[in-house]
């Protein structure tokens, strides 16, 4: 059997490496994770992302679509983690409440646009 990881590991690593700063920034400044919590999240996200790229439906996907999936997963992670920390209570941080009220995919879309703008 073809080793699926040999298919395009460089491309996957590259997408992650280019996106990780945006992810870190979103987790810390949007979702208010601590620096250590964000780093832990990034480790999990990297492992997950490598496997995502080898799924049946993602094997041929171009880098941009892979990046959007990654950003979406990061936002879902940040939101879920913060909701768990808050234990169902509202935060005194209004900006945090605002970001938690938004759909993670929507936030990910904003992050992707910012990513594109910064690189253009």
């Amino acid at each position: 059997m073809e080793n699926p990881s040999s298919k395009r590991p460089d491309e996957v690593q590259s997408v992650f490496a280019l996106t990780v700063d945006v992810i870190h920034s979103a987790l810390v400044s949007y979702y208010r994770l601590s620096d250590d919590e964000a780093k832990g999240a990034e480790e999990d996200l990297f492992i997950w992302f490598q496997r995502l790229s080898r799924r049946g439906g993602a094997g041929q996907m171009p880098p941009k679509l892979l990046r959007i999936s990654l950003l979406s997963a990061a936002c879902q992670y940040g939101r879920s983690f913060q909701l768990w920390k808050l234990g169902g209570e509202q935060s005194s941080d209004l900006a945090l409440n605002e970001i938690l009220a938004r759909e993670p995919d929507e936030v990910a879309g904003d992050l992707d646009r910012r990513f594109e703008e910064e690189r253009s």
């Binding site: 059997m1 080793n3 997950w48 995502l52 799924r55 439906g57 996907m61 999936s69 909701l83």
Partner: protein
């Protein structure tokens, strides 16, 4: 405000270790696996990812075993509910194993079971991060099943939208697979020249994509279309290109179809004896793979040829072999009507050839 806690995990297996673990799983009998879950790393996403890859590759070789393995994996992940991997991975593996089981059932003509598995696949994929891509792959399998159920108008109506989805998602190989259905629809409509055009275009694109499997399978379909046109040289050339690759890939379903296509050519060019031999070869291939519907369909085709040679007794034997399998399958009304006529004529030992031809014409689609 609500949300679920996303689990943290320890270090998983490497992808290489996952492949080795997957091979150990497949070498372990089903009833021993549950007790060896930890030793086999059966809950590790790398193992599951490798298992899905192996089963996908085995689809053309052994759909029956793929069905059994995929069902085992689905049940294992589904109940008792296991925490598999990170984020959406449990849902993905439920969807993927169900899709594999459904695809295998489609190849085995287990129509009702295929639809149930497709529903399960949808239930899993709906919750994944990359849902549009996975749902589009599922949509392809559903259309392929509808094609085999002769819902051609619906297939033709929905194909362009699916092609567009695959293109937007950057999945060119899947988009190209949709064109197979388009070509096969032309075959079904008795438009072999149009089918040749489509499959030639598929060959060019498959070559450009570097997909030797799609390229070889497309040449396989060209044999069929050229065979219908009685174009011997073109059919032989297509088989020369298809057979070595399909043999190397051990794609037995496609190889059986190659023999079927060559049989059509031999029949169209008046070599009835050789055509029967080639149909027999295809039949043996389908028998080995467990594709009983195709074996039965070929019994009817051979019966028709035997009648053409005046061999009524042998033809009746062929029909008698096919009828129980055909009855077992849930067929559309026009298939059942033809079946009733053939059954009645077999009872009287005066075969109604038109009914026979309608029935094996109906069955012809199953090979696709």
């Amino acid at each position: 405000m609500s949300g679920r806690v996303l689990p943290f995990r320890g270090r998983p297996l490497s992808s290489e270790a996952g492949i080795q673990a997957a091979e150990r799983v497949l070498a372990t009998p089903f009833d021993e696996r549950a007790a060896k879950t930890r030793a086999l790393h059966l809950e590790d996403p790398e193992t599951l990812l490798a298992l899905c890859g192996i089963l996908r590759e085995r689809m053309g070789t052994s759909p029956a075993s793929v069905r059994d393995e995929a069902e085992f994996l689905y049940r294992f992940i589904e109940s008792p509910k296991r925490d598999i991997g990170l984020f959406d991975e449990r849902d993905y593996f439920l969807g993927e194993t169900a899709l594999l089981a459904g695809n295998a059932c489609r190849n085995l003509s287990l129509r009702e079971e295929a639809w149930i598995w497709f529903d399960r696949a949808e239930a899993g994929f709906r919750h994944t991060m990359n849902a549009p891509a996975e749902m589009s792959r599922l949509a392809y399998q559903k259309l392929a099943e509808r094609f085999e159920e002769r819902q051609l108008d619906l297939v033709i109506e929905l194909l362009p939208s699916l092609v567009e989805s695959f293109k937007r998602l950057g999945m060119p190989e899947d988009a190209l697979k949709c064109r197979f259905l388009e070509g096969l629809a032309h075959v079904e409509k008795d438009e072999p020249s149009e089918a040749v055009q489509v499959f030639n275009a598929v060959c060019i694109e498959a070559d450009a994509l570097g997909s030797e499997r799609l390229l070889a399978e497309s040449y396989g379909n060209l044999i069929h279309a050229h065979g219908m046109l009685g174009e011997a040289a073109a059919a032989v050339e297509a088989s020369r290109r298809a057979i070595p690759v399909l043999t190397r890939l051990d794609d037995r379903i496609a190889l059986a179809k190659v023999h079927w296509g060559l049989a059509i050519l031999l029949r169209e060019t008046g070599h009835l004896g050789e055509a029967i031999d080639s149909y027999r070869k295809a039949q043996e291939d389908f028998e080995t793979i467990g594709m009983r519907a195709d074996v039965a369909a070929l019994n009817l085709v051979v019966a028709d040829l035997l009648l053409e040679e005046g061999k009524t007794v042998e033809a009746l034997r062929e029909i008698s072999e096919a009828l129980p399998v055909i009855s077992e399958l849930k067929m559309a009304p026009e298939g059942m009507a033809a079946l009733s006529l053939v059954r009645e004529s077999a009872r009287r030992q005066e075969i109604n050839r038109q009914a026979l031809r309608e029935l094996h014409g109906y069955f012809q689609d199953l090979q696709n």
